[in-house]
Symmetry: D2
Subunit: 267 residues, 4 copies
């Protein structure tokens, strides 16, 4: 007692929220202090002595929720999207007035997805060629996925910084679309297949060798280890943190890893 982190879930009846409730309840070092949804009062958080609030609500609700939390010294772990520079500034203002409180905003709580992006960015400058293949269920509306586009952008950025020339490609006759979508010079291919969930491969190639980083996400539960990791760390990280990667890697290079922007989404 006293040892366990008291965690409230906001948006507790949503798809992600209900997973979070289950994950918190199953974690040995946490207990659920409150599970609130849209019509519930936030007072439940303070009454229950909440340490950390996990916000998985909507862009319209999240700012009000965080204002309440920060003013009451409750840390926030936020998966809700819709963050603009202006909104982030307002949040920073509240945090300035509550110096011991921390908020983590993570556009993607999938640890595997965040690692994939980081490793892709690190590997990019060592290889002549780089392409991204993402594979999803056929009900997905966008192609490529936001994560694949973001990954390709990170790879392109690292190639630019390293002064790499454009990728080699002798294609002279091609069917339309065969070579994929061009994202800042990095080809991205989107496969849609019944039976798949969410998968991504980043392929790098140089003379005589290739390196492939593949992430397979089988279900929504795959975001929960990232949420719990955020809950465990946020108490020791006052102020605003954007991107789960800051909690995955310590030291000087965490800043660079922050290149994953808040608008990337979990897509």
């Amino acid at each position: 007692m006293g040892e366990r982190i008291r965690v409230a879930v906001l948006g507790a009846q949503g798809r992600m929220g209900s997973e979070a409730v289950r994950a918190v309840e199953a974690a040995d070092d946490m207990e659920l202090s409150a599970a609130v949804d849209r019509d519930d009062s936030l007072d439940a958080l303070t009454e229950a002595g909440t340490d950390v609030a996990v916000d998985l609500t909507h862009p319209e609700a999240v700012l009000g929720n965080l204002e309440f939390c920060v003013r009451n010294g409750i840390h926030g772990v936020v998966g809700t999207t819709g963050w603009t520079a202006e909104r982030l500034d307002r949040l920073r203002g509240w945090l300035a007035g509550s110096p011991g409180t921390g908020v983590l905003i993570a556009p993607n709580f999938g640890i595997g997805a965040v690692l994939t992006m980081r490793f892709a960015r690190e590997a990019a400058r060592f290889f002549e060629s780089a392409e991204v293949v993402e594979l999803h269920h056929p009900n997905k509306a966008d192609a490529p996925s936001g994560t694949a586009v973001r990954t390709a952008q990170l790879v392109a950025e690292a190639r630019r910084e390293a002064g790499l020339p454009p990728q080699p490609d002798a294609t002279s006759t091609a069917l339309d679309g065969a070579r994929g979508a061009d994202v800042d010079g990095v080809p991205v291919h989107a496969v849609r297949l019944r039976g798949l969930v969410a998968h991504q491969e980043v392929l790098f190639g140089d003379e005589g060798e290739t390196l492939t980083i593949r992430h397979d996400s089988m279900n929504r539960g795959s975001f929960m280890p990232g949420v719990l990791l955020g809950v465990r760390r946020i108490g020791a990280t006052p102020g605003l943190t954007v991107g789960l990667e800051h909690f995955l890697f310590d030291g000087s290079d965490a800043a660079g890893a922050g290149a994953v922007a808040p608008e990337a989404g979990n897509g």
Copy 2:
């Protein structure tokens, strides 16, 4: 002695031909009777008592070569391309006049590639979704590869015969090219990466499961087992055979497998 098959290689100094010379010399059950190239006389074949001629020359040379071989009762194993209905008819005419002689024309001697196409065609009707991803070195001129296009056509054909509806795909916003090239309703994606040689994946998906058939070809040597298999079998197969698959599978269903057309190429 007398037991080994006496094999001549035509086009012996070309890239494929020189591999074939090496492969024949290394095979326990064969011996090289002649290695001829463009300026050499075909008489070398008859003088050396050749049983089987392997033709890896050019479209302009192959007809003359085969006319000579068939008239002299030498069986042919042919990787040279450029076959039209009219050319095949001329060849059939010669064979009609030399009843014990056989000629195999194989657009693709890669056993793995032929198996991939066959399995893809067989699997196609059981899955809601099917896509092809081919991956090659970046010096390749065409995208997708001829083999990938042919594979997609076989899959599309099998889907049509089974009465399958169009593939599910809810994509509503996409970057140009993201969903690949459309080959008869089957998306085909072409990756070009330094370090790769020639690779192909055929992906099938249905509710809760996927099946992937992948072929990796590391070098030109991968065609040689197919050439040798052709050499071993052609003596017992009079007449014209188009497609190595007829020698890979026996019985009634070989005919269906013949769906791999002579124009597919080894690409």
Copy 3:
């Protein structure tokens, strides 16, 4: 009316059975005539005018169920295991007395798994090397999976029939277990990883090329397309059929595919 197949599910409250109930209800060409479990009377089947009974019960229950069905002219589609030669003989006896009735016993209803085994058996004789890697969740009790063992046996059998020598392997110093389990000369490796469900790769290699057949099963729902296929075909297939592959492939070679024995299990 009259057009749709009237399907009863036996073992309707079990894990597989409840999936089957859902799948039958969702199929346009079927309707659920009865959903019975251990304490329910089988008379519900006849009263509801059942065409096909899907048995997903237990070895102790299945024989009694099938005796009732066959005597009443109800076709059977059976996933229940525990079949011995003696039990199959009894079933054949009942079927002999009811000439228009058919029963399908399928140890594995996963179409992808059945195709993988079939393709593996067909490809085996063309490659010097063959290994199996299966990958499952870490709660699985047996290693390798029954399906992987069965696949390796089929590959070994095909190699023997083709007169292939033992696989090349120059390993002279090895850590215990590094080269996997030896199943009739085919190495089988079992990976256990949180996040996985049920996956299998069959790898074939020859000079310069490899062929990989991979099956990924994401959930129990993946067996339902196979169950429904059995329901659709059994009415036109009197007598006993063992193995779903007989309904996947027509013609003379179906017999050979029957090499998948009833004791293989869905594991």
Copy 4:
């Protein structure tokens, strides 16, 4: 003139050495100053104004070569193995007497292999499960490969440091060898297949997701980009550096990456 790095290759007639000669000749920013083998005098290096010597010789030759180079202010890039603590100390002594000179000893020049080990080490602490599958041609004598063993050790070390419990594995009945070799608690599986060259997969899994890092090395040429990178950087890196990873990543965490020990080998 003056701008290009003048590079000598020692062991120029060996397999790796002859590749290095070709690679240096093909690099725009280098020129080959000398190509020496076992009976040639090292004076050729000084006479030709060599900046960097690439040593790809034998454990018996390398120490003498480096003593000569360091005393003459020639930087060294060394792929030769056989380094002991005592040998490294002797080399450090020579370097202390020639303050501007640098030597890089790299047990593995494959950039992809080094990245794979680094990423594996970084990812390890975030996942409940981790296994290694390495795949090689069947002429390889050891199983698993030295690189796979080293990778598993790095993963095991990172798991220990993060306080992770043993991996979940409910296997209760297994065939001998099915679960691979146990390297510090990390299962390692070795596949041997004709047609393969050198490949490695590191698999990580947690609830609902997996991360796979795969490295494919198609030929010896794959080590050359790493050798050239060493040549380009060593001039600005006085003293002894062990491990190519120090040149791949800058800043504070390079030290940690140095965990790849000199005895790992290119296997």
